[in-house]
Amino acid sequence: MTVLNLLILVCLSYVVLLFGVAFAADRAALAGRASWLRSSVVYTLSLSIYCTAWTFYGAVGFAARSGLEFVTIYLGPTLVMIGWWWTLRRLVRVGRSQRITSIADLISSRYGKSNLLAVLVTVLAVVATTPYIALQLQSVTLSFAAFAETDPTATTLPDMQSTALWVAAGLALFTILFGTRNLDANERHHGVVMAIAMEAVVKLFALLAVGVFVVWGLSGGIGPTLERIEASALARFEVSGGRWIGLTMLSAMAFLTLPRMFQVLVVENEADEHLRTAAWAFPSYLMLMSLFVVPIAVVGLDMLPAGANPDLFVLTLPLMEGRDGLAILSFLGGFSSATSMVIVAAIALSTMVSNHVVMPLWLHYSGMAAVVSGDVRNVALMTRRLSIAGVLFLGYVYFRVSGGGTALAAIGLIAFVGVAQFLPALMGGLFWRGATRTGALAGVLLGAAIWLYSLFLPSFGASALLPQAVLDQGPWGLGWLRPQALFGAEGMDPVIHALMWSLLLNVAAFILGSLLSFPQPLERLQGAQFVNAFDQPGAPGGWSGGMAQSEDLLTMAQRIMGAREAQALFADAARRQGVAGYLPEPSPDFLQELERALAGSVGAATAHAMIGQIVGGAAVSVEDLMAVADETAQIMEYSIQLEAQSQELARTARQLRQANETLTQISVQKDAFLSQISHELRTPMTSIRAFSEILRDNQDLTPEEQSKYASIIHDETVRLTRLLDDLLDLSVLENGQVDLNIQTGTLEALLDRSVRAAGGDGDGFRIRRVRADEQVELTTDLDRLAQVFINLISNARKYCDAKPAILEIRARLAEDRLVVDFVDNGSGIPTDKHAVIFEKFSRIGQTRASGAGLGLAICREIMERLGGDIAYLPGQKGGAFRVTLPLDAGRLPARGAA
């Protein structure tokens, strides 16, 4: 097997491994075994996407061209990380409390949720990142070509373009598969993060292995290596002060503002704890990555032929020495660096593009109707997927068009200067309350324009996009506007020149714009929350849902999220609060949870507004307003906390009152029932006694009379027995001593039987069914289930007050459960009675119809025995009951388990 074939094989297995790791991590996270996925180590390793293929290959090339200067690219991030107490701590805190999804989201959120600003940041980020992605594709194809060249058996060189296309397509597939699992951008992409952490280890190991090989294998130890450096062309320390300081600053700024770095640093961050570890662990990673760069560059310059591309020394040195294994490892290191960067960049950019550009447009053109119909979720996911494909395609196109000629490091630095334009708006937003939207817009716009004009466009080469005349004499012959010598700053390094002017003017416009404009209220509110991130305990904007109606919230949530998801969410919250049924207390916690869930479908702003409509008036809470007021806020905070506590107490009191009411009601009912049951027992008893006395005492009765009196006694006994049966039935069910008679049959047959037994339809009572939905095989105690159905149907017949009364029976399957809803069109059951209808002896209103009020209590006990549930379903047209039953008989609880 030739080296090239081996390489392709290794490369493919590596890709399979990558998919496997991501898949396993996603599975582990789903199964709840993901605590190690959230560790500080994984977080630190995921930061290593800062080290792209540009770093892996390009750093050596950089060092071969300009010596130790390459190290500045790592010094900047090192300083930012060890200075985490200043900025990163605040950034991460704000990112979590405001549920930030991208750098565009953060900037727009700070400046009054301005979408214009978000779009501007998104566009600039895409423009700056596309060449960077192209650069990664280029590095993979170049390293492939390096292998092919050394392979004498390869008849044809692999086509560069097709390699790049395959790599781009594979990366798009990976990112779409693992990067768009869930809509909520704040949820961690466990698969992606784990794959990136693994790639981080691979690239560090590969670079260290090549370094060790070069120092100890080729140079004979540390001493000789240092002597070799002394003797090389790089021996003199000739860095320019401007570039040294400028590049350190530039890399520090880019570390904070690159969309992909923001994604791993802030969006995927889960705890401050991670930051504390990364504060020293990530600088260590960077130091190890750069430790062997100069030795590799020097030895490469020394041993390889003069024309060799220094960007590929990491690969060509082992290849030249015949160390194919090491070369393949080194290739994998470069491949890892390229792929992890592209994956995260694509996720970050696609979130920005879909959230800030495509979704607002789509909602605008499809109107609110789309929000209500509930297909928002799929549209959002689809946009994100398409954006990922789009971003990668753009990168590929850039690679095709640019032809891959420029030295690797050049494109990297150009992108850095581009994203650095976000920094004034970002830092100003975090530290200066006076920063306004106008200022941020002006700063970013001006900085971006200067970056485009003086660095990005000229980077395509003379006469490519800017005419040579403009480069030489300036536009319209204005010499002081020459792109690379603005305002007469001649002879500067182009990158430093562009960095200086763009940032200077960016900051100037930002400050001036902020000073001259007046912010809107929402802007001031957000500004206060961002700048005072540490002074406010708890999340901002908490709802206080005293007046909120859970039922209204459920109706709204059903429309947006779909009935099933909404009911599941509500039932879950209710269970956690210890409330039965589907309506939890509207506590602030629950409202916040609901808002977050809705935000996954319709976006945070819309969700916030919708809940605000129902809960009323809490959109800007007292707490928020206090934050705007200055120092008084500190004093008043304590009383706000007290207020929150008293609200909490009021809620608890309300719950207690409710419980007490239920108890009192039950007690009253019990008394009423006892007197009634004595009455019910007494009436038949009286007649039985009377007629049996007649039979005993009167010997001269005719046979007709005898038989008449005997049958009266018999009928009364039957009535008595039925009542006692019901009581006995209930007591047996309650004590769990019931024997289940498991049979199999279809739901349709069972319902037919129940409807017949309950008196069928007719007489102004109609039953609507969808027989197609009822073809479900059931294995359970059919008689008991029929008893429940009969009870529900005859209840509807008895109590539904509409003319004509219509009962709808709807059946459907939800996962492994059968759900049957009985919905009538009457006036339903008032909310205050929901709590008692399933209690024994309870009858709604002063009874019009006969019955001891045991029916629903028996139903509830039966459903519990069958492993299912019966509940009142609020938010429907009329009275509605939902019966839930597991389809699998094996899940029935063991007999007597109660």
Binding site: W86, T248, A279, P537, A644
Partner: protein
């Protein structure tokens, strides 16, 4: 950064911890200045060239990493204590 409404003088332990936070703030500034030091040697006769600068830069790097590790270890205690104190005072759970 608003002033905390605490006592005017702090206990010795809290005082130490506040100074640790100050140290964490100063560290990157100190690092930035020290990383620029090789630029000063450039023209002088004592300049040892790339090798000397390399040893200096990587040595300084290691020192900064160690300092950062020590500081963030101790700041962890500081932060959690501060939050405990804060939530005890306000009765709310800090985020």
């Amino acid at each position: 950064m608003s002033p905390e409404r605490g006592p005017l003088f702090l206990a010795r332990r809290s005082y130490r911890r506040r100074r640790l936070a100050d140290a964490a703030r100063v560290l990157p500034i100190l690092g930035a200045i020290l990383f620029c030091l090789p630029l000063v040697w450039k023209g002088t006769a004592a300049a040892g060239g790339t090798v000397q600068a390399m040893i200096y830069v990587f040595g300084l790097w290691t020192v900064l990493i160690l300092a950062s590790a020590i500081l963030s270890r101790h700041l962890r205690l500081d932060e959690s204590e501060r939050e405990n104190w804060h939530s005890a005072r306000t009765g709310a759970d800090g985020e």
